[in-house]
């Protein structure tokens, strides 16, 4: 089977959707040149009416996408860096997200926001290393964080076809992942549907994005000693609680590894919901970024702040005690 990289998968998904639906268009900085690779080759294929290089006015072009969506288009926005989601939080959380309810259903806003290279890029420091997906889960904007090339393809396609705003985080740490892929089988992956990458009996490890690969490595490492189920929600919001109940119902133990800041992050939500509604045989554990984390520049500091395999192993061992 051919190998497909995560980056190419996103590029292919976007190209396929532009091809399929003339309402799809793309806004972003330097997307004509395709410097983030997401849009490579798309300007020459689809032209300036579909692939629009924007000035550095993220707030205006984010709401511009909303306006275009109100008129029947399905815009996709590329943000060069994750913290541009802070800059445009008003436009996404307070405008695009709220319009359907506030108008009593008169309009909807099918816009997709993609961040190729979310989380740490190693050495990009405090303002370029955020992973703010939990913020969108909190305000209730649909949010996906694919871990593999086929999920990247499928979730981007679903995001574009969705009638509501959707944020797609493509973690920098996953963008070099390659997979054997049957191109004919590539297709939409439903938003809100989890994926169990590896079945296990002893403990459920919830992991997202690039951390899925760390969780899989840890599961391998612990193989024989502890049987780890690697549960990838794929969507942060809506979350596939039903599937998680199935997994936790089997294992009775839970560890979440989450590249958010600790307080009020996805890890908190997963543990809270499980503890309210499901039954565990041992206290759960989170492995996250610290509270209030700002990623320091120096590599050893940058890494020290991110959740990692050793911490995950320790957490899994603790819940197994």
């Amino acid at each position: 089977m051919p190998r497909l990289s995560y980056t190419k998968a996103l590029n292919r998904a976007l190209g396929d959707e532009l091809e399929r639906d003339p309402a799809v268009c793309v806004f972003g900085e330097d997307i004509g040149a395709g410097i983030a690779q997401l849009t490579l080759g798309l300007l020459s294929r689809f032209g300036h009416d579909r692939v629009v290089d924007t000035p550095l006015s993220e707030q205006a072009f984010t709401s511009m996408a909303t306006g275009a969506a109100l008129c029947g288009l399905r815009p996709v926005i590329e943000f060069q860096i994750p913290s541009l989601l802070f800059l445009t939080f008003e436009q996404i959380a307070n405008q695009a997200h709220k319009m359907s309810l506030m108008t009593g259903g008169q309009v909807h806003v099918p816009v997709t926001y993609v961040v190729p290279g979310s989380g740490s890029r190693e050495g990009w420091a405090g303002q370029h290393s955020d992973h703010p997906y939990s913020l969108f889960a909190h305000v209730g904007v649909k949010t996906v964080v694919p871990a593999t090339p086929s999920d990247a393809y499928g979730l981007l396609v679903s995001a574009i076809r969705d009638e509501d705003p959707v944020v797609v985080f493509a973690p920098a740490g996953a963008m070099n992942v390659r997979d054997d892929v049957d191109f004919a089988a590539l297709g939409p992956v439903p938003i809100g549907q989890a994926r169990v990458h590896r079945a296990g009996d002893d403990v459920t490890v919830v992991a997202l994005g690039h951390l899925v690969h760390d969780a899989l490595a840890v599961a391998d490492e612990l193989d024989g000693e502890i049987s780890v189920e690697v549960f990838d929600p794929r969507s942060v919001y809506p979350f596939d609680w039903e599937a998680l109940a199935g997994s936790v119902g089997k294992t009775g133990r839970l560890v979440v590894i989450d590249d958010s800041n600790r307080s009020c992050g996805l890890g908190a939500e997963v543990i809270a919901t499980v503890c309210e509604e499901m039954t565990l045989t041992a206290p759960p554990k989170r492995v996250t970024r610290p509270d209030g984390a700002v990623l320091p520049f120096a590599l050893e500091l940058d890494r020290a702040v991110q959740p990692g395999r050793d911490q995950l192993i320790a957490a899994v061992r603790t819940v197994m005690k």
């Binding site: 205006a60 008129c71 108008t103 009593g104 259903g105 509501d164």
Partner: protein, 326 residues
């Protein structure tokens, strides 16, 4: 041209409708039928009506926190509009929007925005879509003098200027952003700002509906033939408070003389003088009846069912988890 706004009498009638509607709303705020208060448009009617008179029925607008005038000028049903303010299921937004968000997409209103300046880039996006589909539509976006200081609105001017999009930026300069006089908030001028982005701009008497209409007609024609955006600064005045809650605290940001002075230039009188007294009386009576009927309709309409509080949240039909999970 928006239906009903072809004649001097038609312009007068629509302004009278807005004036009467706003007075009724004030009364219903006092009686408690409208919760949360309103930002009255009284005094500024010529702006909304003048601009909408220059638009075609299928042209688009975006509205603001002080939006009742825009919504009625563009042709929404006053009864459903009032039902919206009263939070009824029959309201334009099924009671989900209220005073600051009441909008009627079916007549080309792409929402009313409670965040100052926020609608301008939405209008730019609609204009981009219109241009792309060669629909010939133009988009008018209303905002106050205070909105001139919002970064996103200035960014929107740049995009519209750069891409020559069919947008009419309508600045309702009523002299104040709440308590702040325009001159203490705006360095330079509205017109100068637009021109800095390559956008032709002019200032008009916002109390004269025909003057507003004529300027808007020029701008709309320019936009429609691909000539890009314009900005029109309409000098106007709100005769009443910033918001109906303003009286709760003693404010002295403007003088009674100033208010009286502007009241001598009531847009209804300016336009009223252009039609015969008989016609004027007849229109006033007509509007009176129409509004009485609107009030009956609105107040007799059912309140929404609390069980549907999150209806319309997701267009895809996603049902959010409740705040308590049993």
């Amino acid at each position: 041209m928006t239906e009903g706004l072809h004649t001097p009498a038609g312009l007068y009638r629509r302004m009278r409708l807005i004036r009467g509607f706003e007075e009724m709303a004030l009364r219903l705020v006092k009686s408690g039928d409208i919760v949360g208060g309103t930002h009255p448009y009284i005094g500024e009617e010529a702006v909304a009506v003048g601009v909408c008179a220059a638009l075609a029925d299928d042209d688009l607008i975006t509205s603001t926190h002080r939006g009742h005038g825009h919504v009625l000028a563009k042709g929404s049903d006053p009864a459903r509009m009032l039902a919206e303010l009263a939070g009824r299921e029959t309201g334009l937004n099924h009671g989900r929007g209220g005073s600051m968000h009441a909008a009627d997409v079916s007549v080309g209103i792409l929402g009313a925005n409670a965040i100052v300046g926020a609608a301008a880039p939405i209008a730019v996006g609609a204009a981009w879509a219109a241009r792309r589909s060669a629909s010939g539509k133009v988009v008018a976006t209303f905002f106050g003098d205070g909105g001139l200081n919002q970064g996103v609105l200035l960014e929107a001017l740049n995009l519209a200027g750069l891409w020559q999009l069919p947008v009419l930026f309508i600045c309702e300069n009523n002299g104040y952003a709440t308590t702040m006089p325009t001159r203490t908030g705006v360095a330079g001028t509205a017109v100068g700002r637009a021109e800095a982005f390559g956008i032709p701009a002019s200032t008009v008497d916002g109390m004269d509906v025909e003057e507003v209409r004529d300027a808007a007609a020029v701008a709309a024609a320019l936009a429609r033939r691909g000539g890009g955006p314009s900005l029109i600064e309409c000098m106007t005045y709100r005769f009443g408070p910033h918001h109906t809650m303003e009286h709760r605290i003693k404010l002295s940001y403007r003088t009674q003389e100033e208010i009286d002075e502007w009241r001598t230039r009531d847009p209804l009188d300016i336009q009223g003088r252009r039609i015969s007294p008989d016609v004027r009386d007849q229109l006033d009576a007509e509007i009176g009846e129409l509004l009485a009927e609107a009030e009956r309709f609105a107040l007799a309409s059912p309140h929404p069912d609390p069980a549907g509080a999150l209806d319309y949240l997701y267009a895809s039909g996603l049902v959010p988890r409740g705040g308590v999970v049993a």
